[in-house]
């Protein structure tokens, strides 16, 4: 059923968040809160070198330390073949995942796990890893993407040959693959252009910076049954990866999801769980492991640093005739940067006849990159949206009008192949143009920028349930960890279908043995896909309730209607019966057929893409180079906001992360490839005092493939901010900055560079 045009009572309202009380009172159970009788503490020994051969590992002294119950290295995990499968977030090479959890013959980044211990206390575990003697042969390393691509760069993997080039190379390389997307003839298009704009943009690696470090508690029992308690974006993913890495049947692993203190894509894979299980198996006791913040930075996936070259060609009237983009993304120690989406997203918002995009996936001596909110797209759009702004200035056009003129609409063929359908980009731009922010006056020294973003959103496999308890209250189940409010949105959709208040529905997330399979929480998919499953489950329950009412009243089921949480006779001919509510029907559940409930599994298709447009005002302090965000408005097509407060929160959160990426965040390395700023004091994420209240404007162009019209919303908002801020700085200073972050030293240096020229003028 489709409810898009229905008169909705719950969906679209703002009930109190269901997990709020336990979170603000400190009672919510996160990974680090878990305890188990007999539990040991696990600790990882990490490489101090950015690139080194591991010649030997002597664990004998550590094993003899009183209190140490187990020591493991990669020899304790099965050595698995080079195999790729799409089980988690993107194709995963399980050999690489295993080598990332515990190094085989090489340490590939500073912080790479080399061995691990389990001991009766954290202090003993800390002491034990100091006793593990590892002999290294240090090798040259490379960090930045172009350094890693250089002919003389030390190769990380002797069996990595660049894919996507013909003929297949004979020599190994740090370039894992090359991808290309072409439409029309870009070179011919550029010849036809009146105006050309070019730029070379760079970004540094940034971390998802979730507040909660990785943590898990794992127990391997003597009969081979495994329990995993961990914070993740997908407990089915955790189960699958541990099964694959350790050679354990899936049914023998039970993964229990816990509350998550942020994921943003960074918790869509495993680091500690396979190691903890291996330690538990050896020790015969449960093992708890948790990363410090330092370990999170040094050893868990940030996103890529990159270089992006972009060229736009347009006619004098503003129509863009040709574009070219070359993207080079760091993958970290193993292949798998988000180069594909990066290549597809930058120009996805525009209707351009000639497009040439080339992307490089490059390994370098850094932690393997993990997904970060719209992976690949922010970097690509940083370059494209700055260049669009330069083009608008060169043409003397309004920045929004240039985008409207060239904007994608229903029927626009993208450069990566599909034709856009049911999209809301132009509506989003119109909302931006009509917003008071766009026309608000600026003071001298202030600047305004706009930038846009696109993300595909996905559907996928999801399971959800709807169960009526004996007293008529409702338990909804979701197969997905809640990282952005999906417990609330799923409960609300179930409540809407049942016709009861949101407060009558409690949504929980069962473990992997207690609910059908769900693909992980990512890709902005859960409210869409798991919401679809939950809606169908609730609809089946309604049909069942009508059947039971018909049985109680002894009338045909077609003569029963369900409205506002009750069964009614449909019309006076059906009979004069008092309505039956959930409680009344639940009371008679046994006599009318048994427990009332349904679980539905789907593979949801038809996830609609999302578009955003952000307007940013800044003021630049010419003495310090500090950039102050004065006002920020984020406009986004959200399809249908199931719970508007959560949607606004997603938009504000994504925008804030993008602002941090724009202005301050970066990994800083020393000459030996070691991270210098592995803590929040020196890795500077925005705090509440750094940003103004971000106004989130929701444009609702319903997605017809979702029962309530929802689109994914969580990822789009991180895409526009970098260019929005960069364009605003350009507006304030007249300077185009090409390198992220636009931190005070860089801004000050750019101002200083032009100061003599300005003085002369």
């Amino acid at each position: 059923m489709n409810y898009i045009t229905s008169d909705l009572k719950v969906v679209g309202s703002r009930p109190v968040r269901p997990d709020g009380v336990e979170k603000v009172t400190g009672r919510a159970q996160f990974g680090a809160d878990m305890r188990m009788a007999g539990m040991l503490w696990g600790k990882v020994l990490r490489s101090p070198h950015a690139h080194a051969k591991i010649l030997s590992i002597d664990t004998s002294k550590a094993e003899k330390l009183p209190g140490v119950k187990a020591v493991v290295t990669s020899k304790d995990l099965p050595h698995i073949a080079n195999e790729e499968a799409f089980v988690g977030e993107g194709p995963m090479n399980f050999r690489d995942l295993s080598r990332n959890c515990l190094a085989w013959d090489k340490a590939l980044y500073e912080g790479h796990a080399v061995a691990a211990v389990a001991a009766t206390s954290q202090a003993i575990a800390d002491a034990a890893i100091e006793l593990i003697d590892v002999k290294y042969e240090v090798l040259p390393h490379s960090i930045d993407v172009e350094d890693a691509m250089a002919d003389n760069a030390a190769v990380l993997h002797e069996d990595l040959f660049t894919a996507g080039v013909d003929p297949k190379p004979a020599k190994p390389s740090n370039i894992a693959k090359v991808v290309t997307f072409k439409k029309g003839d870009a070179e011919a298009g550029f010849k036809d252009a009146d105006v050309i704009v070019e730029g070379r943009y760079t970004t540094k690696a940034v971390h998802q910076a979730y507040i909660e470090p990785h943590a898990c508690l794992c127990s391997y029992n003597a009969d081979g049954q495994v329990m995993i308690y961990s914070s993740s974006q997908g407990h089915f993913m955790v189960r699958a990866y541990c099964s694959k890495l350790l050679g354990i049947d899936l049914a023998n692993i039970r993964a229990v999801p816990l509350e998550i203190g942020g994921g943003f894509g960074g918790k869509t894979l495993v680091y500690l769980e396979p190691v903890a299980i291996a330690l538990s198996k050896k020790a015969g006791r449960p093992v708890k492991m948790q990363m410090t913040r330092d370990e999170v930075f040094r050893a868990s996936g940030p996103t890529s640093g990159a270089t992006v070259e972009v060229k736009l060609g347009a006619k004098k009237d503003g129509s863009i005739v040709a574009v070219k983009q070359v993207l080079k993304y760091q993958a970290g120690a193993f292949p798998g940067s988000p180069i594909g989406p990066g290549c597809m997203c930058g120009f996805a918002m525009y209707d351009i006849p000639n497009v040439d995009v080339v992307g490089y996936d490059v390994v370098s001596n850094r932690p393997k990159v993990a997904a970060y909110r719209a992976p690949g797209a922010p970097i690509s759009s940083w370059a494209v949206e700055c260049a669009m702004d330069d083009l608008a200035r060169k043409l003397g056009k309004d920045a929004i009008e240039l985008r409207e003129q060239n904007g994608a609409r229903n029927g626009t063929k993208t450069h990566y192949g599909p034709t856009h359908q049911n999209i809301g980009f132009l509506e989003t731009l119109k909302a931006a143009k009509n917003h008071p922010h766009w026309k608000a006056p600026l003071k001298p020294g202030q600047g305004r920028g706009i930038a846009c973003g696109f993300w595909f959103n996905i559907g996928g496999e999801s399971s959800a349930g709807c169960h009526i308890a004996e007293d008529g209250t409702v338990v909804a189940t979701s197969g997905n960890p809640d990282i952005g409010g999906s417990r609330a949105s799923i409960g609300m959709m179930v409540a809407e279908v049942l016709g009861v208040p949101a407060e009558r529905v409690r949504t929980i997330i069962p473990d992997t043995s207690s609910i059908g399979f769900s693909f992980l929480t990512g890709g902005s998919r859960v409210t869409f896909a798991t919401g679809m499953a939950a809606t169908q489950a609730a609809e089946r329950v309604v049909e069942d309730l009508k059947r039971r009412a018909a049985q109680i009243w002894e009338i045909p089921v077609e003569a029963v209607e369900w409205k506002d949480g009750k069964a009614y006779p449909a019309g006076s001919n059906a009979g004069a019966f008092e309505p039956l509510d959930l409680a009344s029907l639940a009371l008679k559940a046994g006599r009318t057929g048994g427990p009332i409930g349904s679980e539905v599994s789907v593979n949801a298709q038809g996830a609609g893409p999302g578009f955003g447009a952000h307007i940013c005002d800044v003021e630049v302090d010419h003495e310090t180079g500090a950039v102050k965000i004065l006002r920020y408005t984020a406009i986004q097509d959200v399809g249908k906001a199931i719970h508007p407060s959560y949607v606004e929160g997603q938009i504000q959160g994504g925008a804030t992360q993008g602002i941090g990426w724009a202005l301050n965040e970066e990994y800083i390395y020393d000459a030996k490839g070691k991270m210098d700023n592995s803590g929040f004091l020196d890795y500077r994420v925005p705090v509440a005092s750094d940003v103004p209240m971000i106004e989130a404007v929701m444009v609702e162009v319903p997605n017809p493939r979702h029962p309530f019209g929802a689109r994914g919303v969580g990822e789009v908002p991180i895409i526009p901010p970098m260019a929005a801020v960069g364009n605003a700085i350009c507006g304030a200073t007249g300077l185009r900055l090409y390198d992220l972050p636009m931190s005070p030293p860089k801004v000050r240096a750019a101002l200083d560079a032009v100061a003599p020229k300005l003085a002369a003028e």
């Binding site: 993107g90 894919a163 013909d166 290309t180 943003f264 989406p341 996928g460 298709q605």
Partner: protein
């Protein structure tokens, strides 16, 4: 017979650079089987690594996704997210 467009380079290495193919298929499952018959190995690449956009709508892991002879069928890299 529907025309299938292959964008990106991952599949093109199986087809010798060909980006447009006519395939006797009306479901994604049949498409995978036909492509693998003509270009051994391509079926696995498509099934595991690609999504299919049918008249603009993206389907992932959907054997039953159907299309007609006039449909726009485009194979694109599978999408994930963060």
């Amino acid at each position: 017979m529907p025309k299938v467009l292959i964008t990106g380079s991952a599949c093109q290495r199986f087809t010798g650079g060909k980006t447009e193919l006519e395939v006797a298929a009306t479901t994604f499952r049949r498409l995978v089987l036909e492509l693998d018959q003509r270009f051994p190995g391509l079926g696995k690449q498509v099934e595991e690594g690609m999504a299919v956009a049918i008249d603009g709508e993206i389907f992932q892991d959907a054997y039953a996704a159907t299309f007609g002879s006039d449909s726009e069928v485009v194979l694109i890299p599978k999408i994930g997210g963060g």
